[in-house]
Every structure is written in C-alpha cells, then in structure tokens.
C-alpha cells in the first residue's frame, strides 16, 4: 500500500542510489547502468572529428601572474547525491571563493548522476563548450583525453610556486601536494600526467545483520572471508515447513546482496592476484580465474543465497527489512543502512530491529585485505585563455580546503582526500562523536573509519580509453550468470565460453588479448529441433540416393 512518508523526505524508485560507481545518492534505475557504447563511440568520433577540424587546442602553460584586472566566468559541473546539504556546500564554497577572488564568477550546473556529466562533456568537446571545472571519474577523463589538449595536465599547476598547491599567491589555506593522500592522488595519474585531483573518496563496505549471523550459530570475525559469507548465506536459506525462512520467519530472505557487481568482480580478481587488465589497456579479464569465480557465484545464486541490486533491488531495503544478512554497498551509502538508518525507502512497519556490523568487503586473504578506492575527482578543461584556466585551477584548489572537504565528507560515508582535513580537529571530533543523531549516525561514522583504517589496502584499476567499458563488462559477467541460474539455465564451461564471446563483443573488449582462459570452440549446447530435422533429412536423402544408385547398378548387372 502507499504509505504516509512525510518523514522520509524524497524517496521512490526515482531516488535510488544506482550509478556505475556504486556510491551514495539515489538515481533512476537502469538508464545509467551503462552509457551506450554505440552512442559513446558516435559522440566520440564526432568530438574527435571536430577536434581535428579545428586542429585541437594549444597546450596550457601556467601564466606568470594571474590577471586580476579582468573578470572571468567559469562553469562548474558538479554532482550531488540528491542531497540538499551537498548542494548547499557547493554554493557556500563558490560564494566564499568569489569573495576571495572578486574577478572570478563560478556558475554551477548540478547533475544527479555521473553518467549524465560524462555524456554532456563528450557532447560538448565537439563544440568546444566543455565546462571549466568538472566533477568526474578518471575512467571518464581517459575518454575525454582522446581529444587534443581537452583536459589540462595538472602537474605543472601542482608545483607552481605562486599558484600551485600551497602556492605563495593563493588566497586561501589549501593543502600542499604532500597533504594529498598519495593513494587517492595516484588514481588521477595516467597517460603520463596527473589529470585530476581527488575530491572525495569512499570504498565498499559490508553491512551485516549481526543478530542473524549469531542466530545461525556463527561468530562474526573482524575480517570476513568469502568462504564465511557463502557458508552463512547458505545456512540462511534453510526454510521452515510452512515455506518461511527459518532465520527470519519471513517469506523473503536473500542472504547476500551485492550492489555493484563490477566492483565485486574487480575486487575478487585483485584479491586473488588474477589478471584484469594491464596499465596499457590490454584486456585480461576473460580468464580461468574469472570462470571459476563465476561458477562459484552461480552456485550460490542457484540456491537463493546470493543476488544483486540489478536483479532484486537495493541491499539496504532488504537489510533493513530483515531480509538480507550481508549487504555490500558503498561507504557513501551508509546512511541507508541499519534499523535506525536516517534514510530509508521502505515503510517503517517493515523495518526489523537488529544489530548492524560494518566490515570490509569479503576477503580471500585476511592477512592482506584489499578493497577498491572510489569516489569523485575534479578535472580542469583547457580553454583558449590561459588566465581562464588558471582561474579554474584556483577554484579547483578551493574545493580541497578543509572547510569544503570536511563539510562534504560529513554528508555521507566519504572521507576527505587530504591529510590536512583528515587530521583537522573538527573532523576528528565529528568522527568520534557519540551523539548518535543523523549527522553522527554510527554506521556512517564506522564506514568512514573503515576507509581511513584501510587506506593502505585500497587499490584502483588501470585507467585507459575503454576502462569504463571493461568495468561494465566485469559486472555484467556476474549479472549474467546470476540471472541464468535463476532461469534454470546451466552455467558450465560451454556457457561461460559463450558468455565470454558475447561480453567481448558487446563491450568491445580486445579479444586478441583477452582469451587466455577461454575454451574456444567449446560445446555450444544441444542443436535446435529444426537443425536436427534438417540434418536427419539430409542423411535420409543421401541414404536414399545411395540406395537408388546401388539399386541401379545392380539392375544393370
């Protein structure tokens, strides 16, 4: 039934938190699952054509002085997680920056998902109407780089004595280069330069119904292994005689739900030190380890122990309703997790009381945990006027100030990207607060702390033109086998060989480099009835022809 949801703020299918990088914020299901490769290629080719038509833009060189006698209007394309506080933080940052630099005006355009920003940037490259500053992902920037001098390499700006990080002429207390968390900055360096600064960082966390884990007779370890998750998840599929699940007494129980299956596959491969891609863009994901992992996932999907966001719905909805035990989602989605979550999408009477535990994503090697680093970065687009670019860079730097970093990080389970902000007394006070209100929601604080404690254990995947597509393919493999076993199809070597072929084709993966583990030319399954009939017909006809010929010869004799 429709519920009275005045207390919930914005909710419904349109406000969900699905987008390719699996972070917080709720957007429409489906459309941004993946940008159309075809559309992308068309747009990209248009962009490249336009770039070549105009012979591209000259490379940027840092001006000796920032010209304060002229006015500059710069555009900033940002993304919020349908979170009004985040919008206000951007607006305040802009106002404060404009007060410091009266000759710079910042116009902000807000998006509700990264895919749209990506799409619009690609479109605007062809008309030289890119924004000045843009919140985006390194995978996306790698595509922008296919145009000439479209994105400004920031290395020279970082180190500029006057206007660089901590520069003498910068009018605010920004971080030095050394104060940027190295792991987060490293993600922004590719193709020989640094093309972005990190803005916020998150990772994935596993939000666990500890009450049910213990009810099933298990003790939750500090670091959870894949084996543990699968074992408990299988135990949770046990049903009562009346068809309800034993662990929750409800008709629904999906013990393990993963939000971003691209991350799931990427992290599993990384933890096993299995190939994914090279830094140069050679595609290696379609290998034997992936095949084994897919079979394992399929086995647990078949018993109902595992499902995904795309197939079932948000892990948080099931977790909070007592219908899921292990919910993997971004740390930036922590405010949706748990019995007392400040943000919920299900009716209050569906919420079940349980103890929520926060752990890293499941691991294969508990001594060497590994988890993905994700989160938005900021890039600066090149323009004809170097002064305009410098103005853009100054604003970009301002987004790294403690005030902006801390305020934004507190809106979700993000962490600031500078040691300067992370060590700030105000941030530490927030992080260790036991106020328990929405701002200091304990699960959110634990999620942020999880990343802070594991920064050394984070990794990112190589960035190259096509890495975004590879990421989509990684998730699609898991989605495909999960769907297939639910539909009573057999997931075996032949199935996976065909899945590899289909995936390589659909996602334009480099087939020559990605087939090491494939069973090429494997069994493609039983022949269709029509084909069988045709073959039988041919055999019968040949037999009759032979019989006729033999009969003819016998007759002649």
């Amino acid at each position: 039934m429709i519920r009275n949801n005045e207390e919930l703020g914005m909710r419904n299918e349109e406000l969900k938190k699905a987008f390719p990088y699996g972070e917080g914020g709720r957007v429409r299901r489906g459309r941004m699952r993946s940008l159309s490769l075809v559309l992308l290629l068309v747009l990209l080719s248009l962009a490249l054509t336009a770039c070549h038509g105009s012979k591209g833009r000259a490379g940027f060189e840092v001006p000796a002085e920032f010209d304060t006698s002229k006015n500059y209007e710069i555009t900033f394309w940002a993304k919020n997680d349908t979170n009004k506080t985040q919008t206000e933080i951007y607006k305040k940052a802009i106002a404060d920056f404009e007060a410091l630099y009266p000759n710079i005006t910042v116009s902000m355009k807000l998006y509700t998902d990264y895919g749209r920003i990506y799409n619009d940037v690609i479109t605007n490259i062809s008309t030289n109407t890119t924004p000045n500053v843009c919140i985006t992902y390194p995978d996306h920037i790698a595509t922008y780089l296919t145009g000439d001098n479209v994105v400004v390499p920031l290395d020279g700006l970082f180190d500029d004595e006057k206007y660089g990080l901590g520069g003498s002429e910068v009018r605010f207390d920004g971080p030095t280069k050394d104060e940027l968390i190295p792991q987060f900055l490293a993600e922004c360096a590719f193709s020989g330069s640094t093309y972005a600064v990190p803005y916020m960082r998150s990772t994935e966390a596993m939000y666990i119904n500890k009450t049910y884990v213990e009810a099933l007779g298990y003790q939750l370890p500090d670091v959870v292994t894949w084996d543990f998750v699968w074992e408990v998840a299988e135990a949770a599929t046990k049903k009562n005689a009346d068809g309800t699940f034993a662990v929750n007494g409800q008709k629904v129980m999906i013990p393990f739900i993963y939000k971003s299956t691209d991350n799931m596959m990427i992290q599993m491969l990384k933890q096993l030190d299995a190939p994914y891609s090279t830094d140069a863009g050679e595609i290696l994901i379609l290998n034997d380890t992936t095949r084994d992992l897919l079979k394992q996932v399929a086995g647990h999907a078949k018993t109902g122990a595992f499902s995904t966001f795309k197939i079932s719905s948000y892990p948080a909805n099931f977790l909070n309703a007592g219908q899921c035990i292990f919910a993997v989602d971004s740390t930036a989605g922590a405010t949706w997790m748990g019995s007392d979550a400040p943000l919920v999408d299900i009716s209050p009477d569906s919420i079940v009381q349980f103890e929520t535990a926060v752990r890293t994503v499941p691991q294969f090697d508990v001594e060497h945990p590994q988890m993905i680093s994700q989160g938005p970065s900021v890039c600066v687009f090149n323009k004809a006027d170097p002064q305009e670019v410098l103005a853009s860079w100054l604003f970009t730097q301002y987004l790294l100030t403690n005030e902006t970093q801390i305020a934004y990080a507190e809106t979700e389970g993000y962490v600031p990207v500078t040691s300067k902000a992370q060590g700030d007394a105000a941030y530490q006070e927030y992080l260790h607060s036991d106020a328990g209100d929405a701002l200091h929601y304990p699960i959110k604080l634990q999620a942020a702390q999880l990343l802070l404690d594991n920064t050394e254990n984070t990794f990112t995947t190589p960035v190259f033109n096509g890495s975004a597509s590879l990421r989509d393919a990684a998730g699609a493999l898991i989605e495909s086998v999960t769907k297939s076993v639910r539909r009573k199809q057999t997931v075996d070597d032949a199935y996976i060989a065909k899945l590899y072929d289909d995936t390589a084709s659909l996602y334009r993966l480099n087939q020559s480099s990605g087939r090491s583990g494939m069973t090429s030319g494997g069994d493609l399954g039983p022949l269709p009835a029509g084909s069988k009939a045709l073959l039988i017909t041919l055999a019968v006809v040949w037999a009759l022809l032979a019989a006729y010929a033999i009969a003819g010869k016998v007759k002649k004799k």
């Binding site: 429709i2 519920r3 005045e6 299918e13 639910r486 539909r487 019968v540 022809l545 009969a551």
Partner: protein, 237 residues
C-alpha cells in the same frame, strides 16, 4: 524411385520447417497465465501499448495492458524506429522473463514484435481512490488508475507544493504530495514518461498547497505504490 525420393525430400523439408517454427514460437500466455507464472519464468504475452518512456540505448520501457490486466515491460530491446511506432493501442507480442524489483512485477530482458491486424485497445482509468491505504490496491499494479478529490500538501518544510529532483536543470522527475482522509501520499511525474513540455508536468508545476485535484497515472510499484502520474486536473465538482 525418383518420384518417391522427391516426395520424401519435400516431406522431410516441410517437417523440418515446421520444427523450426515450433522451436522459435513460444506459446502466448493469457494475463492469468502471466500472473500465475513464477519470477524468472520465461513469459510471452500479447498486449496493447498504453504508453512508453523515451527511447534510450536501443531500449524502451513500456506500459502495456490487455482487457484483463496490465504489464510493465522494463528496458525492452527496441530500435528507435520501432519505438516511434509504439503508439497507444498498438498490439505487440512480448517475449521475456518475469521479474520483480522492489515489489514491481515486470517483464525484463524482453524482445517484441508487432502483431498485425489486431484492433487497438486503450484501457480506461480505474478509479482506485477507495483502495488507497488498502492491500487490495496491488491488484491494480501497472494499470492506468485514477485518484479523485486529492488535496495537495506541502512537499517539504519550505512549503512548496512540489519538488524537482533536479532543481537546477529542471530536467528530471517531479514529486508532490497529496492527501485523502488524513493520509498523505507521494506521487511522481516520471520525466522519461512525461517530460517538461507535457501538460501534466506543467500542471504539477502550477499546483498550490490546498488545491483539490483528480489524478491519473500508471500504478508503478516501488516498496509500495508509486504511481507515475500522467494527468492532473482540478477535481470535478
């Protein structure tokens, strides 16, 4: 012998052709069969397009119905050219799998073909005002439904009668709240179904708190009823 051989050949070819057709032709289900099918079962239905969201990425999401019930066909494979032919009333045959996503029963991973010769059918809206807050409302899931005499409530603490999902660009969904008999409900104008140039989008933008209105829309479901509103008019006296 030659005649016998020719006859056998023709017979076998005919049989093989029949086998081909039978292998490819899935049996069309009635709405009752469809409703009874389990989640993840393959389904094939003939249904009439009632509306569709904007085409995207060689896919289109369709609101469909027949005389017995309604279907939500999520991200159906469709060329842009074919999407333009999906006029209300058009009969199509859809093959896919039954899915359920946060309570919304839908057909996923679907393909379709146009069915020639059928008469167009466009469903009348079913008045479900009296079912608001009742479990029976789900029996009308995906149908075109009507809510009569609803009072517009303030959407949030700002006192506005509606909210943009994208307040800056205004190129996304609209949300608003209406009440009846002391209970308040949240409705949505799905941008991909009814964009900013449609009458309903403009009508919601013109709402004032306290207005009494009639609404029509498709009874979408997301953790409860979440109708995609297609028409807003002042309440009939």
């Amino acid at each position: 012998m030659k005649k016998i051989l020719a006859a056998v050949l023709v017979l076998m070819l005919a049989l093989s052709l029949c086998a081909c057709v039978m292998a490819e032709e899935a049996e069309t289900m009635t709405y009752a069969d469809y409703a009874a099918a389990a989640v993840d079962d393959p389904v094939t239905v003939e249904c009439y397009v009632q509306a569709h969201q904007s085409w995207w990425d060689n896919q289109v999401t369709v609101y469909a119905a027949d005389q017995d019930g309604a279907y939500f066909i999520y991200n159906m494979a469709c060329s842009e050219e074919d999407a333009a032919k999906l006029e209300p009333g058009t009969l199509i045959k859809v093959t896919g799998f039954k899915g359920e996503w946060s309570g919304e029963v839908e057909i996923v991973d679907a393909t379709f073909e146009f069915v020639e010769g059928g008469e167009a059918f466009v469903a009348e809206a079913v008045d479900v005002t009296d079912l608001l807050g009742k479990d029976e409302l789900i029996d009308h899931q995906n149908q075109l439904v009507a809510f009569k005499g609803m009072t517009v409530e303030a959407y949030d603490e700002s006192g506005a009668a509606f909210a943009y999902k994208d307040p800056e660009g205004k190129t996304d969904d609209l949300y608003f709240k209406v009440s009846k008999d002391g209970q308040t409900y949240e409705f949505c104008v799905e941008f991909y179904l009814c964009g900013q140039d449609t009458e309903v989008y403009k009508a919601v933008e013109a709402l004032n708190v306290g207005d009494v209105i009639d609404l029509e829309g498709f009874l979408y479901w997301y953790e409860g009823a979440n109708p995609h509103i297609t028409a807003v008019t002042p309440a009939a006296e």
